[in-house]
Symmetry: C2
């Protein structure tokens, strides 16, 4: 079985696939008379023609490592951001596109306080919290299925780094 | 000093001002082969003409009750959603409009797992976590200041219910 080692999630490693949503470094702006920092416009949101931004909530069953990966999906018409409502890690799996199907996947584990935004059309795994998890999801509302799925001929195994 | 009693945040009480973002009741959809529930499109997002959705992060200094309220603000060109990245309550203050200035404010305290979306043009207090807090903020990116402020002639006191 092909093994994928889950690595810590960093903005540099994740940049081809999307944005890491986290507070790091100084804020871009100080607002509210000094009482609040704003890290401004940190996600490459894209809802395509005919779509609009929506905010939904997801609750997914907890997963664990090692994790059996049999399916990736992508949303051709829009980006999809996941903001965890609890300080707990979750598993992030992405893959480059290789001619309409996923190439070799990469896996990351977040640290508490990190969210992610998948760029429009990016192959990714389904929401996989490592404990009970609720997420705010900012994605496209609009016509069309906006979903492609790819099932691997043989499952891959994602293991802790 | 005028006293405002902070109440528990409920969707019914908050509806004229915005949306409570939380997982309650059954999901609108089950996805990912049964492994995830989706509470779909739960915020009345509105970024106005000439605006687009942006995702930013805010970190604000903790406040406490009683809380001295001297300022409300509103964003005439867009809604503004606050999603807490930790399971902790925060203070939500809103007011109806009364001829271009805020009417009598209402105050709410969230329970862990709740976020809010302020409707476009709704008078509200600045971000006021009750402990160290980071929030994902979904609001309008676009031209113009998109900000009106109202300073009360005398501060109000928000107290625990």
């Amino acid at each position: 079985m092909t093994r994928i080692v889950a690595r810590p999630l960093t903005p540099a490693a994740f940049a081809p696939f999307g944005d890491v949503l986290e507070v790091t470094g100084p804020p871009d702006r100080i607002i509210n008379e000094g009482a609040c920092g704003r890290w401004h416009d940190r996600a490459r949101l894209d809802f395509g023609p005919g779509g609009r931004a929506g905010l939904s909530l997801f609750r997914a069953v907890p997963r664990a490592l090692p994790y059996r990966l049999s399916l990736l999906e992508r949303h051709p018409d829009g980006s999809q951001a996941f903001v965890p409502l609890q300080e707990a890690p979750f598993l992030v799996i992405v893959a480059p596109d290789a001619g309409g199907v996923p190439g070799r996947p990469l896996a990351f584990v977040t640290v508490p306080g990190q969210g992610v935004n998948y760029l429009r059309g990016t192959w990714h795994g389904v929401l996989a919290p490592l404990s009970d998890g609720v997420f705010a999801v900012i994605d496209r509302i609009g016509p069309g299925p906006n979903l492609e799925e790819h099932r691997f001929a043989a499952p891959l195994e994602v293991v802790a780094g």
